[in-house]
């Protein structure tokens, strides 16, 4: 026997209580790890998006549209190297549960704007040539088992065709990958020419937003200001920002993801703190005479306090490790599904380390009070209890 086996034995004195507490801690850390990863999935693109690109969106609402002619005016500005446009298509593939973003784009110009997206040149040629053509991220195609040549039916929810039909059918002419794993950008890309031709006449010439490549990334802020100034008094004023900022603003349409995650996690950890503290306090009270016996045998005040604190640490770290371990398995399992609409979904090492650090901190906070009480325990008084 050693000190660890004494601590272990004490920890499982009341097995049901310990397992329930362990389970609570496990759930808390499972939530922590997954929610932090979800927040990372939303924030991941924000961190990596290039600052040499600006996104020019409608000033007042992301659902507004802007005239495609803005592109030509922007190209005249000093510091603007190239401009492409994109539009939110919406729509459902085989029901509402198979969500993935879809964008009508100018095939060649779009891929030139995003050199990190790699497509076979022949497939890009076909995408440009075939007005019904569409290309999908490889990950998305794998997920749905699509092959080049497949017909992909999309039921429009925002966009219907000029003849009133909601059914859009595209031909998959290629797939693309990303050289940046964290910027998979899983858009299903549609040939804009077909979209433009088929949609109702009154919306022709309107697009959702522009992506602008600036000549000098250091002057991106100035260029953004120039663009917004240019359209300030037009029918469609703009709001320009780096892609990172634009994505952040988009995420904030739902709410402040980070704040929401932190709010949920704070509530979870506060509850766990109370629950575990209650367990440890109860466990301490139940064996005050036993701790006194340890002191009688010659264990010092500090060593008895350390035993109590170590139990708390072990409980929290064990629960935390189990929760984090399950989160690793779960995130690996669901990563491909999540990645189809949220970009990357990678469990970061820093999240795991933060989880263990929080587990240790929780153990110390929860165990400190019983440990101090154990240290102060007077043998004679405690033996009478």
């Amino acid at each position: 026997m050693n000190a660890l086996s004494l601590i272990w034995a004490n920890l499982f004195r009341k097995k049901v209580r310990t397992f329930l507490t362990l389970f609570s801690i496990l759930v808390a850390f499972l939530l922590f790890t997954l929610l932090r990863t979800v927040a990372g999935a939303f924030g991941g693109d924000i961190d990596i998006a290039g600052v040499d690109r600006l996104q020019v969106s409608p000033k007042y609402s992301i659902i507004d549209l802007m005239p495609v002619t803005h592109m030509n005016e922007m190209r005249q500005l000093e510091g603007v190297e190239e401009v492409v446009h994109s539009t939110w298509f919406g729509g459902n593939y085989q029901g509402v549960n198979n969500f993935f973003p879809k964008f009508p784009v100018q095939p060649r110009a779009y891929f030139e704007m995003y050199p990190e997206f790699v497509i076979d040149p022949a497939q890009l040629d076909e995408f440009e040539r075939n007005r019904l053509g569409a290309v999908a991220p490889q990950l998305l195609a794998d997920n749905f088992g699509w092959q080049v040549g497949d017909r992909i039916p999309i039921e429009g929810d925002i966009w219907m065709q000029d003849d009133g039909s909601r059914l859009w059918e595209f031909e998959l002419v290629g797939t693309y990958t990303s050289t940046n794993e964290d910027n998979a950008f899983n858009g299903f890309l549609i040939n804009f020419d077909y979209f433009e031709e088929a949609r109702p006449d009154q919306t022709e010439g309107l697009v959702g937003w522009f992506i602008v490549r600036v000549t000098n990334p250091d002057e991106a802020a100035e260029v953004a200001a120039q663009i917004d100034e240019l359209f300030e008094n037009s029918m469609s004023p703009t709001r320009s920002a780096t892609e990172a900022e634009a994505l952040r603003q988009f995420a904030n349409q739902v709410g402040d993801i980070g704040l929401m995650m932190n709010g949920i996690l704070s509530a979870v950890f506060f509850t766990i703190l109370l629950l575990t503290a209650n367990t440890m306090t109860q466990a301490f009270r139940e064996r005050v005479p036993e701790l006194a016996v340890l002191k009688t045998l010659g264990f010092t005040d500090l060593s008895v306090a350390s035993i109590v604190l170590a139990e708390s640490l072990l409980l929290c770290i064990l629960g935390g490790a189990m929760g984090i371990g399950i989160a690793v398995v779960v995130s690996n399992a669901i990563s491909p599904q999540i990645a189809t609409f949220a970009g990357s979904f990678n469990l970061e090492t820093t999240t795991i380390l933060a989880g263990f650090a929080i587990a240790a901190l929780l153990g110390v906070v929860v165990g400190l009070s019983p440990a101090i009480s154990a240290r102060r325990l007077q043998i004679v008084e405690a033996l009478r209890k």
């Binding site: 009688t296 010092t300 004679v380």
Partner: protein, 226 residues
């Protein structure tokens, strides 16, 4: 040679505004190898005196020297170390750790030594052998009778080979036959293993196993019975 020397020891408790004198003007010497029974009515101060000798309580006044060590003024840490090396405790209600089996309960005091895990196991096995419980080593206290639990407690008390055993009503929770077995075991430890034993008891029959008996009444030693 005296292994325990108490000089003018007093112990007072404050209970609210009332000061209770538990022990007063105690002078006592216990010879090395003695087996002393401390008797007296409830509240006479027997257990308090035992606690002072065992170094788990401090006197209000007076001097206590046990196993060559003056206990007054020792820090809590030094006192703990001293206890682990010199005193074995045996309680009325055994005070074993219910989560550990007999073997591990006996090993507990050895965690404070520098012995290896293997040596600790061997020593604990020897101690259990001495008290006749080698075959119950893997049983937890809840699976043992009262007499067996007290034997485990005795094994725990002797495993670190202390000079002195302090026993607080060691047979108080046992039936007559079992009590006799435990007392015989204590006698054996005294005569064969040279342990100095100081035992608090209410039971005159238990006291007959001791070499000497002292009586306490209202916190004072009143007579010695040969």
């Amino acid at each position: 040679m005296a292994i325990v020397e108490l000089s003018n020891v007093a112990k007072k408790f404050t209970k609210g505004k009332e000061v209770v004198e538990v022990l007063d003007q105690i002078d006592l010497e216990v010879e090395d190898g003695d087996f002393l029974a401390l008797m007296g009515p409830s509240g006479s101060g027997k257990t308090t005196l035992l606690n002072l000798i065992g170094g788990i309580d401090q006197p209000t006044a007076g001097s206590i020297k046990v196993a060559g060590q003056e206990l007054n003024g020792l820090s809590s840490k030094k006192l703990a170390k001293w206890r682990s090396e010199n005193i074995g405790f045996i309680f009325q209600f055994y005070n074993l750790l219910p989560v550990l089996n007999a073997q591990r309960n006996v090993e507990l005091p050895l965690l404070l030594t520098k012995l290896s895990g293997k040596q600790r196991q061997n020593n604990a096995a020897v101690a259990l052998e001495i008290v006749g419980l080698a075959d119950r080593a893997k049983h937890k206290p809840g699976e043992l009778s009262g007499g067996q639990q007290q034997r485990v407690a005795i094994a725990r008390a002797i495993v670190a080979d202390p000079k002195i055993l302090v026993c607080d009503e060691p047979t108080g929770d046992l039936d007559r036959d079992t009590a006799d077995e435990i007392l015989s075991l204590l006698e054996l430890l005294n005569t064969e293993h040279g342990k100095t034993i100081i035992m608090v008891t209410h039971d005159p029959k238990a006291a007959t196993h001791a070499k000497h008996t002292l009586h306490l009444d209202k916190g004072r030693l009143v007579q010695e019975v040969a």
